[in-house]
Amino acid sequence: MSAVVAEHEHDDHHDHGPQKGLLRWVITTNHKDIGTLYLMFALAMFFVGGAMAMVIRAELFEPGMQFVNPQFFNSMTTMHALVMVFGAVMPAFVGLANWMIPMMIGAPDMALPRMNNMSFWMLVAGVLLLASTLFMEGGAPAAGWTLYPPLVLQTGTALPFAIFSVHLLGISSIMGAINIIATIFNMRAPAMTLMKMPLFVWTWLITAFLLIAIMPVFAGAVTMLLTDRFFDTSFFDAAGGGDPVLYQHIFWFFGHPEVYVMILPTFGVASTIIPVFARKPLFGYSSMVYATASIAFLSFIVWAHHMFTVGMPVAGELYFMYATMLIAIPTGVKVFNWTATMWKGSMTFETPMLFSIAFVVLFTMGGFTGLMMSIAPSDFQYHDTYFIVAHFHYTLVPASVFILMAAGYYWLPKWTGYMYNERIGRLHFWISVVSVNVLFFPQHFLGLAGMPRRIPDYAVQFADWNMISSIGGFIFGISQLLFLWIVIDTIKGGTGIKATDEVWEDAHKHGLEWTLPSPPPYHTFTTPPATVPTEHI
């Protein structure tokens, strides 16, 4: 990033609107365009990953093997996870960050616009490369998204491509994270001090640091897999003095913070939306910031709770159990704060608020099962069963995904200048919230009753709940098309209702973005705002 480049960017911003035609989307360095690209891509991948989930639920609809062979089933579970994590949830939050962070902190754009463009296109390349492994000899990776050796080394032609795709996705995430940190540190309006930043910005700042710390470690781990397979190293190969369990330690050193990468921005959006619809300031702003930071810190020292059954000395088991239990405290603080924010408010229940409330309730349920699993002896029963499948889907689908939906409904009027169809929005919410529970709640029962995860077929006593779960899955899957319809309809201005600048009652007291016109002009805050709202603090 030389000064000359920045100078050029600067001129661009002042003198021109967007490029005409499709090329605009390829070469754009505008944070709003890139945000849109990320969000659209994430939505597309949400449907791709969802289609894979439909294959899984269809095969599990009834006992017996009906549609796919076991190897392909394993590819589906693996690819579903990788696509959803790296292709849908993470890019969606990066998209929100791109759109909203500059507008929330009064900055004209992201700090590093060109890198921004590059990180998006690397993401696309990475995901396409990953998807291409589906068509390779030996099939897509089928060792689970955790890619444990020695199993993952049995992957066919796809292995090096999958690993290279992880590298691309990692570099893309790291560039995105660096950009976000630089934007938050250097581009804030002078009045926007750190402790006045909206919580979405705060949680993303912490998330970005997590990403910078963990993505390189993951890149290292998969590189070791690559050299083990092709260059005769033996990091994880016992025959050469290595240890397959070492991979699990490195992976979960990445993996545990990684799941928080998907949940911390979720907390941020919820903390942004709930006060607006409760017409109250957020309860305990600074405790929210500290709780987020402590969750992020704890995420680095609890990784081996994913490995209780791997055979650790009892002192290790106990340490990881205690450390993991600690996470319940800051997480509890957050839930209590959201509840206190609603308490004695003046609430209305537009779609964003509905999704946010559902998030608080259902995420807390995922948190409860998480607490149960932190108890190491009990985890000797829960581990690798459908109980954990239920747990992490509760913390990802009705939590992260619901909040992404909430964010979509919340900011779509700002982005497009039109209100979305509230009636269909609420319909989408109610179908989603019911079906997601029909989908995942029975999986607790299945896990407790003894059904292992990642199996393509099961004993007949698991048949009833699997069928119910699958029905929930199909309804949930299909109902997301409503969201797609609403997004398209809103962009086209289908409701015909023009959005006001503040969109939501008194929202301008909660965030700078609501002081801008709807839709905002191509370039905003070219001069920083003099004052910032403090209602959210």
Binding site: M1, A182, N186, I212, A219, D232, A239, G240
Partner: protein, 181 residues
Amino acid sequence: MKENITQKNTKLVVTLVFVVLGMFGFGYALVPLYDVLCDITGLNGKVEGAAVKEISYEVDKSREITVEFMSALNESTPMVFRPETKKLKIHPGEYHTVNFYAENKTDKVMVARAIPSISPGPAAEYLQKIECFCFSEQTFKAHEGKTMPVRFVVNPELPEKYKTITLAYTFFDNTESSVKK
């Protein structure tokens, strides 16, 4: 002002890139760190790959430890492999030698490596080996059978709660990779 921001950005990006590179290095540093951790905590029952010097301990006659010997073969290792002694009752501090028998079942030269593992993990550091066929790769001629000694001592400092220690070896066929090298 603007120049200022560009400079600040550049500085920040450089710092963060170093953090990224550092963390990439850290991922690799976890490999030796893990071995250190294993040595300290007995994580995974990994044991040191080198011989210890034979020094004389005061034999603890007050208690007996059962040491079990176990053999395993990785799936594609065409060998016969078994301990000639399955169990030994010993006093901590006594030196003992046991034999393992391994035989190459193929018509070709085979290079194989035996990987030791000790359970319970925390007892691993107290089971010290003076001589072991696992310290290096073993070469077997076609159909060759070898009796291979393991000489060991259980350090008398072994905590009281451990009464049985299992020493297992798994032979891995490394012929292909050693040919490459």
